[in-house]
Amino acid sequence: MDEEKKKKAKVINREKLDTQQLFQLKTEVGLSVVGQSIPRTDAREKATGKLAYGADYPQEGYLHGKILRSPFPHALIKKINVEKAQKLPGVVAVLTAKDVPGRNSFGVVIPDQPVICGDKVRFVGDAVALVAGETEEISYRALSMIEVEYEPLQPVFDPKEALKPEAPLIHDQGNLLVHHKLRKGDVQKGLAESDVILERTYKVPFVEHAYLEPDVVMAIPKPDGTIRIQGPMQAPFTVRRNVAAVLGIPINKVQVRSIYMGGGFGGKEDAPLDIGCRAAVLAVKTGRPIRLALEREEVTLQTAKRHPHIMEIKIGAKKDGTIVAFEGTIYNEKGAYASLGPLVNIHSVIMMPGPYEIPNCKVDGYLCYTNHPFGGAMRGFGAPQVCFAHESIIDELALELGMNPLEIRRKNAFKLGSMTATSQVLDQSVGLQETIEACAKAFDWNRRYQEAGYLDRERTRRRGVGIGMGFYRTSFGASFDGCGANVYVQEDGSVLLYSGITEIGQGSFTVLTQICAEELGICVEDIRLVEPDTDLVPEAGPTVGSRSTTLMGNAIILAARQVKDSIMEMASEMISVPVERLAAKNRYIWDCEHPENRIHFRDVVSKCWMKGKRLIGQGWWAPPPPSLDPETSQGNPYFVYAYSTQMAEVVVDVETGEVEVTDFVAAFDVGKAINPCAVEGQIEGGITMGLGYALMEEIILKDGYIQNLSFQDFLIPTIKDVPQITPIILEVENKLGPYGAKGMGEMPNIPTAPAIVNAIAHACGGRVRSLPADPEKVWRAIREAGGPPEK
């Protein structure tokens, strides 16, 4: 290098940037990978049927675990006799509560669910004994040979009943698991000042995630006392923590591998704890690998559901539509065990007043144990429930005030600088108003709102339109919410990306690889993402809360920048250009002022390797810590929100109550679409799931027994139920997100049901306040409203 070039290449100074500054740095040469709708990195394997799901793993040498379940919703276990079952040839172990080596309970938030029940069962499906046999048939036969004597107890099936002093106790500490309160302003004063006050009650039932792949887990004991748990799961670190406690061994002796999932939607956050802990105990007791696979009916019987809510609301507004007071009470049915209930409950409480600026809010959320199956995480985490309520009542309010439902929303909806129900000031990335305008324009709201009416001369089919609006957090808003990532650049320029975020179908592996490629200035094909394995990847928390792209994306950027430092310094030396003038894209690093002066990424990396420069990057990113007052729920629970407005057109048969959704437009502020095709996929899938919530999905319970365990009776939308869907993606930059992105996986599922139910009301005058809006309820609602409209 000649002297002049050397002078030029002098590094002027180097400044350590904090995270905020880091993400404010704009890349001057544009993006080459981020923002592209590249096909999923796993698409080929999936299209050819070669990708192995849990059920496809080899089974040779495995024992088959099975669970004996309680036939009663609430009972004492008086006696268990396992002798006959133990003697059956091919049975290797029959375990009861006394066989659990460590803590006999598990749970994501509170470990209150027994691995094997010892003294008491709390729902139909509780585990009473475990069996391991040489074949599934033998294990099933052994289950039928276990003799259990129960003393049935009085069950409780209603959350309000459960709160009464005379109600039988499901857990010793009482049936009220938690009561969350939100207090903002003075709701009594607000109501007193209102021109109009409406009081309504809305209800939503238990629903099932209905992921197509039934749960399965493998537990493999090792001679050194460690154990490997592998299976489809959204939360490998949560599984690890629980398995370690249940086995009574340190966390570092448990290895958990999350393999590709056939859908999860929140359900594979805690179902894998349940079967994972049970398989682990069987594996340790038998010293053999265990495979524990659930049949479809067992999945429905045993695993978490979306929490049912009874929601009582009083809303007060001025004549001009300004909402001044919101008072809500939620009876959140917990079912038998805590699962994620306490976190769902607080989320329901703070989201209940909706995306509206309301000066006076008061919400109480009571999370009540019952002897039903338990609620857990399901796409939206409390928000779909309360969104149905706030979007229904605001529509009813608009009707009462004689306002267009779009106008009342425009008037009250969040904008930049608005204050939420928790008194959080929304200081960045607030695109709600933009979604309203984009959606209204694409849907042609004002025209179609005026044009409701009969479609046929026989006056049976009426058309109507409805709006739903919502917002949703990114991250789960706890102090321990953070993600780690490792980026290892190999000597040939290929890259290993280590991330603990799991692939449930949402496309995280693809999107995270895109972020890594963009940051390093290479191509997606240059990177191999190492599948989540707690022995290999840094702590990442669970794949929930619409947090993966944002939190892990940031961690990857920070990790990539560590190695990029070495690489850019080396490139600077190699082509004699100061670092500040270098740009990196598509495997080349070049001088921005003289683009022809460039060098291949691989050559720079090779030189770095030869010279012992750092090619290992380790990133950790945690959102700004949340603050929430425990008594008033005032503060900043989440650091950013996504926003959505959705509009539906339905046709209602006023004679039968049948509803067909005929058109759907939905606009989203996602911050930045890292992969627009994947974002559309989330939108279309989420809306379809919301359509099911609106019209058909419900776990039907009778005396504690689920009546619709199979897909024959638990209906989800088929290809014939889905209308035209027009997704609109808006990007209002999240200053704390990778390339401006924020979470959006759950958002599409939230305002769909109220948009459809509001459209039904618009079409025929009948207001359904309890989901699902099945033909019977719609038919009744029409009659309650005075019968089918005349014109």
Binding site: R40, A47, L51, H209, L212, G262, G681, I719
Partner: protein, 159 residues
């Protein structure tokens, strides 16, 4: 019950074997013949993840006794990729973003294959009818419909 001899044509090859008379086709394919591309979601013919083609028609292999396929033609997802070259339907599913978790994808692709072999220019309604036996919980079906339309166009251009 005595084992029975079964002979059928699987993905273009004749297969002769001895099976238990009560085994379902899906278990024969997955556990005995090692073709794991056919999935099991419910074992009652509702979700359609186990769909294979029997003489070119989609069937639920989880409720079809294997002995029923004696001397019949069975096609699984493994059978539509020729010499590592993807079928245009598979390529369209990849390109259109019609795959998310992928658990229903083999069944959807085979159902689409059956449709396009009979009807190269299906309407959207016909696509929906033909694929309605398979549930998908991820995609909302829109991109699946688009993929079948794209595949139809590609097949036409390939003649």
């Amino acid at each position: 019950m005595n084992d029975i001899h079964l002979s059928f044509i699987l993905n273009g090859q004749r297969v002769n074997l001895v099976i238990a008379p009560n085994i379902m086709l899906v278990d024969l394919l997955r556990d005995i013949l090692g073709l794991k591309g056919t999935k099991v979601g419910c074992r009652e013919g509702e979700c359609g993840a186990c769909t294979v083609l029997l003489n070119g028609e989609p069937v639920n292999s989880c409720i079809l006794p294997a002995m029923k396929v004696m001397d019949q033609f069975v096609t699984t997802i493994e059978g539509i990729t020729k010499d590592h070259a993807l079928d245009p339907i598979q390529q369209a599913f990849i390109d259109e973003g019609a795959i998310q978790c992928g658990f229903c994808s083999p069944a959807m692709i085979l159902s689409a294959k059956a449709l396009l072999e009979k009807n190269p220019n299906p309407t959207e309604y016909q696509i929906k009818e033909s694929l309605s036996g398979v549930l998908c919980r991820c995609t909302g079906y829109k991109k699946i419909i688009k993929a079948v339309q794209t595949a139809s166009a590609i097949r036409k251009s390939l003649g």
